[in-house]
Point group: C2
Chain length 555, copies 2
């Protein structure tokens, strides 16, 4: 046994908030049996990934070792934890374990991708355990902002690891199990080698607040409203959706759920028995006959997503319903950094309709699903591990969390994506650095983030595009004049002539003067024509476009 080791390797999630993918391995170096915890996605943005549909962690390392992989464990059903399971199933092939609600969501994804839903296996909560290879894994119920979140208790020949998943300490989470310190103490009792711990809220210095605190405030707000009330939150925050629906019901309002994700989540929560007492809902069609002061819409799109119900209601009608002067719109949510523009756009569109918008700036209508700094300290103390390994955070979060552990007298180690830690000994060591990165789902195709595809798209977005076409005859002499097409460029340049004419004039001059050697050489000719376009564009437009040169030869 002495030459076997326990390794930890984050492929995603340790260096960003999103696309979680954490590998654990046990065995002889290079022959470890592996498990993967979570396989999530991140979301693209115009600045760095225009046109991309989803972002995965680059799991090449794991694909090459698919035969060593025993199983995938999914802690909860948020997209940044479960979103990649179906997309990567063909590459990994391992069974997927999750608690019932998460498994329900995962199976829907597998089904959509034509994979066997039996590959997703339902796990019961701790103290039940699942034995896979050298690992014995239990799902420890934790509170978060989605039902049936779990931490993982991972027993190995080298000791116990507690992987928290996303969690908070909530004594009254509205839906699901409250935080149970005795249960955590029981897990800690045999001694814990490593606590691999959520870092999201390490900079929030106040104690975390309970999901149950927002209910009375929302109820009051809805009761005082005189028009229609529209509320948005993450669809997957079933507890919040329930709180919102109950607030509507208490105020004598009929509740309407709008948005596919909203209905799907409530469906999954009902199917799995998590939600048994959700208020009666009516359809959008039925709502047409209800006076607006008796309506409460609960809608998708808390992050300003353009196609979600919230954005559509802000722009105009959605399924026959329309926001009007005197209505109230509640963001029972926090805007994720980077989504501000979309959210603000909606708020202003609603303002134009005379709708009053309430957001969480008062702190009354939203609470976070992650453990704040004092709660992290509490968990460090409760689990009392040999070492704390921060995960689920950007670099700044991981670093701060490691410092927090050290301040508490424990070993804290900063391991970003690609850092393989050897956890076998009393202190963690870096075993290896693995090349990691991002894989894009672009339409239906997976491409590497560094393949240049997206880089070219960004360049066209910034600089526009010019197509240059030249035909050469059998003697390599120009046949007619060169011509241009532009896309994403102004029609007129600073000389006030049509920019295409200016390009063509300058290109023609170049061709007339070009020597036979240049005209015979495709590369030289293309390079010359490209240079002319870029020079002329710089002079006329102040920018250098991307150029595609097409040289056709009659010979």
């Amino acid at each position: 046994m002495s030459n076997e080791r326990l390794i930890y390797l984050p492929l995603g999630g340790a260096g960003e908030i999103g696309m979680n993918a954490y590998v654990y391995g046990y065995g002889k170096p290079g022959q470890e049996r592996l498990i993967l915890v979570d396989l999530g996605v991140a979301f693209p943005d115009m600045d760095s990934s225009p046109g991309v549909d989803l972002i995965f962690a680059d799991i090449t390392w794991l694909k090459e070792r698919a035969d060593q992989l025993e199983a995938v464990f999914v802690t909860h059903a948020h997209e940044d934890h479960v979103g990649g399971v179906a997309h990567c199933y063909s590459d990994l092939g391992a069974p997927v374990y999750a608690r019932a609600f998460t498994a329900n969501i995962a199976r829907r994804k597998m089904d959509e991708h034509g994979h066997p839903i039996e590959a997703v296996r339902t796990a019961s909560a701790w103290p039940e355990q699942i034995k896979v290879g050298p690992f014995t894994v239990g799902f420890l119920p934790v509170s978060h902002s989605i039902p049936e979140s779990a931490g993982l208790v991972i027993d190995t020949p080298a000791g116990r690891v507690v992987h928290t998943g996303d969690f908070k300490l909530d004594a009254n989470p509205v839906v699901g199990e409250p935080f149970d310190p005795d249960l955590w103490a029981e897990v800690a009792r045999p001694g814990v080698k490593a606590l691999v711990c959520d870092s999201t809220n390490v900079f929030s210095t106040h104690a975390g607040r309970s999901e149950s605190e927002v209910g009375p405030e929302i109820t009051k707000l809805v009761q005082d409203a005189s028009g229609m009330v529209i509320a948005t939150t993450f669809a997957s925050n079933v507890a919040r959706v329930k709180t919102l629906a109950e607030a509507g019901q208490r105020a004598g309002r009929s509740v309407v759920l709008l948005g596919r994700a909203m209905r799907r989540m409530i469906e999954a929560a009902t199917e799995t028995g998590i939600l048994s007492d959700f208020p009666k809902v009516i359809s959008a069609e039925e709502a047409a006959d209800v006076p607006r002061q008796n309506l409460m819409l609960i809608v998708t799109g808390s992050q300003g997503e353009r196609r979600a119900a919230s954005a559509q209601l802000a722009r105009g009608k959605y399924r026959g319903l329309e926001a009007k002067e005197g209505d109230l719109f509640l963001f029972s949510s926090k805007t994720i950094p980077g989504n501000e523009r979309g959210v603000i756009r909606i708020i202003n569109q609603l303002s134009e309709k005379g709708v009053d918008v309430v957001d969480d700036s008062s702190g009354l209508y939203h609470v976070s699903g992650h453990a704040n700094r004092p709660d992290l300290e509490k968990v460090h103390a409760l689990i009392d591990p040999q070492m704390v390994v921060p995960m689920h955070g950007e670099h700044r979060h991981l670093r701060e969390h490691a410092k927090l552990a050290e301040a508490g007298g424990r070993t804290g180690i900063l391991a970003v994506n690609g850092t393989m830690l050897d956890l076998t000994g009393n202190a963690p060591t870096v075993a290896e650095y693995i090349e990691t990165g991002r894989t894009y789902l672009d339409g239906t195709v997976q491409i590497g983030a560094l393949d240049g595809v997206v880089r070219d798209r960004i360049r066209m977005a910034l600089n526009g595009h010019v197509t240059v076409t030249v035909i050469l005859d059998e003697e390599d002499e120009p046949l007619g004049e060169p011509w241009c097409d532009t896309m994403g460029l102004p029609e007129l340049g600073s000389s006030r002539a049509a920019i295409i004419d200016v390009f063509e004039e300058d290109l023609n001059q170049f061709l007339m003067r070009a020597d036979a050697k240049t005209l015979r050489d495709d590369d030289k000719l293309e390079e010359g024509l490209r240079r002319i376009v870029r020079q002329t564009a710089k002079a006329e437009l102040g920018k250098k476009p991307e150029v595609t040169v097409v040289v056709s030869r009659m010979r």
Copy 2:
């Protein structure tokens, strides 16, 4: 006189925070003599304006009436108020009035554009007044986050208008004149028809805080730091830069100003006599010889701008200086919504270097330059106008500000860009709606926001681009096969064949089957070829690219 009127027409700034441009007119309808208050810019983003350099309000309405324009008054030297003055000078030609510091900045811009700097005239503060046409205008000193900000007291035959510009109520603004309630009362005494008022902070419910409050906190922070200290703020916030520099000096540190804008602003403030006791600064070269714990860098780039000194220091060296483990980086600034990603990128890069980052989340190291809600109420009461016209805000700010005015028993009117108000009577009326919009500076060329140029660039960023080339012989028969070039598309499609080959195969099939009528008709042929590429791409890649078709005919 009875058929003359006083009009107010925002062309920019009333519906967004940025690109301020407010027209006032007095005279017979259609023949009013006009003044323009501020002529600013807004800044582009990848989501909606990729590749654009600056955004102006569309001032077509004003250009067409340049002969009616008496003057441009600039309230202060922020880019969203002064940034368009030089760019639009050729179109408007009117003299520009501003207080000394603002005039200094405006003249630098005029000079860079080759315009006469004499067109910018220095105005003294109230009670001096400038007579232009039917208007008599005085510059009322106000506190803001840049030196010598001014409100305008605009006297007209129909009464007095007070246009606040950007302002806050600060009894101790560190640089410049403190808020003087007696002066404001003096302005109000003859009676004020309309208060046209900054709305930025109408949602901030606490009283505004003084610039002087951050000094002691920053000093403490700098004194406690053990490594090099780097601080960033808006370069134009001369008071803050002074506060930062003094904090460095007190802590026995040599002060270095980094970034062109930082040096230019301090230069302008010194030239105009506003800054006479700024601590001694040393150059980056001199700093190389100073121990890092004795250094304080004050740098540009508080909004995460990629090319600014802050971003360069986060990435690596800047002018020989480098941030290291144990250094402290202070954001003495607020992140403007939309800039979060850039700021967070810098914070994480600094974290990777082991630098501790402090931002304004504690509220200790930054105060806003705009009047909060209670301060707005105070100003409404102090000026006691017939009507309040909110400006400088998004729709939500203007609407809330109008409601605040109404709640105070005054007439509040929501007038967004393009709304021409007639202020002549006791109550404002809407005289007309003018078409407004945005003009982009794209490289060196001005284009309309709706010209389609930027739309095409966004489409290429989302979908990629394909060039299709076909040559037809004298009989309109294909000469050889069609070929393709792609940009911003994956190399392989879902069939695992090179996507270009798949395109060319499908295009060739199409050409072989095309009838003579299609082959003769450029439009039909192009349309057909484009459709094939988009269909094939949809099947192979899951997205429909932009397509440029080039058909060359030998006849």
